[in-house]
């Protein structure tokens, strides 16, 4: 029975990874850039949520919405200032810039408010254990899962049913052809960053509520793991990021449940290296041969 409980924990954790991974995968799909700063957008989202709850005494849902909105704007700003001038630069230059932006956000946050952690206010949501056939599941886990699934359905709706979603798919398929067809590529890329960052902001608030401790460097490890999740599912593929996140969360929980909790952080990277060696295009990816 304990295993099932761990499985549920894994799924809640995995849905947080999935929310972050969606931003990675969308951005990678459209501009072929590993947005290292994405984990820090997640951190900023968490802090925005924290301050709106503790200073402005808002409830959970208003805080979630504010955090998503702030992160969306923040993501677009990052894209416009740091990444847009580099759109035609080499991939390495863009990657190094992304690392630079990530460190800038982290250390500016530390500079502004100090490195001390902050405790997320609990009792935001009713906390009780639900019992299913003798398995105790905390209502929080279920709640996290529900919010994540809701956001993912919303994302699928935006990507597949709206005009901006269509534009996003077109730009990720072929940027030049999309431009020739009259799609405003710059705005579409900004919209992608906005949506991805909003999801990261939501993940930040959920993470804070679930783990109750947030700090300025909290974005690094979940960010990297979410990237692993994105690669696992096949980078650039939206359902892949969701599945990859859930799989990774479950793997991590099972590793800690088997008594190797200290190795938990390593598991994600072992998964990454294995997937890169045996199936670099990911679970859902197609093999693309390189053309000269």
């Amino acid at each position: 029975m304990e295993w099932i409980q761990q499985l549920v924990n894994g799924i809640s954790l995995g849905s947080i990874y999935a929310l972050i991974a969606l931003g990675y995968t969308m951005v990678y799909g459209i501009v072929k850039l590993i947005n290292f700063a994405h984990g820090d957008v997640f951190m900023v989202g968490s802090f925005v949520g924290f301050y709106s709850i503790s200073i402005f005494h808002l409830g959970f849902f208003p805080a979630l919405l504010i955090s998503m909105a702030v992160c969306a704007i923040f993501g677009v700003l990052i894209e416009r200032i740091a990444y847009k001038p580099l759109r035609n630069a080499t991939r390495i230059a863009a990657l190094i810039t992304a690392i630079g932006v990530s460190l800038l956000i982290e250390y500016t946050t530390i500079y502004a408010r100090g490195a001390q952690p902050e405790a997320y206010p609990d009792k935001l949501l009713p906390f009780k254990n639900v019992e299913f056939f003798g398995v105790k599941i905390s209502s929080q886990s279920l709640f996290i899962l529900a919010i994540s699934i809701l956001l993912m359905i919303l994302l699928q709706f935006i990507v597949h049913k709206t005009k901006i979603g269509k534009a996003m798919r077109a730009v990720s398929h072929d940027m030049d052809a999309a431009r020739l067809m009259g799609i405003n590529v710059d705005n579409t890329i900004s919209a992608t960053f906005a949506i991805g960052s909003a999801l990261a902001g939501a993940a930040g608030v959920i993470f804070g509520m679930y783990y109750t401790k947030i700090e300025p460097l909290m974005g690094i490890i979940p960010g990297l793991k979410a990237f692993v999740a994105a690669v696992l599912g096949g980078i650039g593929i939206i359902p892949g990021a969701m599945v990859g996140g859930l799989v990774l969360g479950v793997i991590e929980s099972l590793v800690s449940a088997s008594g190797y909790s200290l190795w938990r952080d390593g598991a994600a990277f072992v998964v990454l290296i294995l997937i890169l060696i045996f199936r670099p295009s990911g679970i859902f990816g197609k093999n693309v041969r390189e053309k000269v």
Binding site: L103, F227, I273, P280
Partner: protein, 324 residues
Amino acid sequence: MKKLTHGKGFWTAIVVVAILSALIQFLISGGTLNSFYVNTIFYIGINIILATSLHLIMGITGQFSIGHAGFLAVGAYASAIMTMKLDLPFPVAILAGGIAAGIAGLIIGIPSLRLKGDYLAIATLGFGEIVRITFLNIDYIGGASGMQVRHLTTWPWLVACVVLTVVVITNFTNSTHGRACISIRENEIAADAMGINTTYYKVAAFVIGSFFAGIAGALYAHNFYIIQPTNFGFLKSFDILIFVVLGGLGSMSGAVIAAILLTIISTFLQDYSETRMIIYSLVLIIMMLYRPQGLMGTKELTSLFKYRGTGKGGMPNDNKQTIA
């Protein structure tokens, strides 16, 4: 292709280095330099080795590695085990550190160098994290609390290692193998088509780079009295990366200059570590926006003293960023 040792500048450079290092040794033993400056100088030496070793992997072969601190950690721990647990002499420990890191480089390089660009970067980053977590969980070497190490790094050993690293890597770059590596950097598919065994050369460069990172690790461990897994995290890899990127991908002298400058700057900003990181990251972003080829591009310091185009068989003179 002239051998490096036959070059005109080689012996001059060795003599200059010998005189300079003797002078510094004299200043250290005479007590003129206080321990703060001595530490800074030692740190500069270690960083030069790290910068040149990563320069071989990134600047010459064009393989993007952001897990270099992992090799540093392997070298540091392997050498510390040699001196502290097995009571072997320091030179053996340095060699052991290098060899252990080289083997780690081989194990990591063979599978992950099949990957390109971003994927390779992430794989090396993952490797660096795995190394850190592994050391964190081995009780034999102290786990999270770290390992006490005697202070054995002396100035002559440091100079010898720095000179050895620079000479070997320069020689490698100017050899047939180095040319093959440069051709991989310029265009891997074309290099493959010209009959170059790209996998072999990529792995070779990776192993040599890791070997010297391991030597730097040995010197690092025996300079700081204690080594902890937290010293070898992602930020350490990033510190090494910025030397190479700032100096210019493909320029050894650029990497060395950047290592010296940034070590001095960071020593003086030691008490303001947030400010230091903000400055670092801003420099990195602005550099990539306005001068993506780095301070020196692919030029070497020596080429500034030559007439344009006379450098027979030298690096191409155009200052283009050539890394994929």
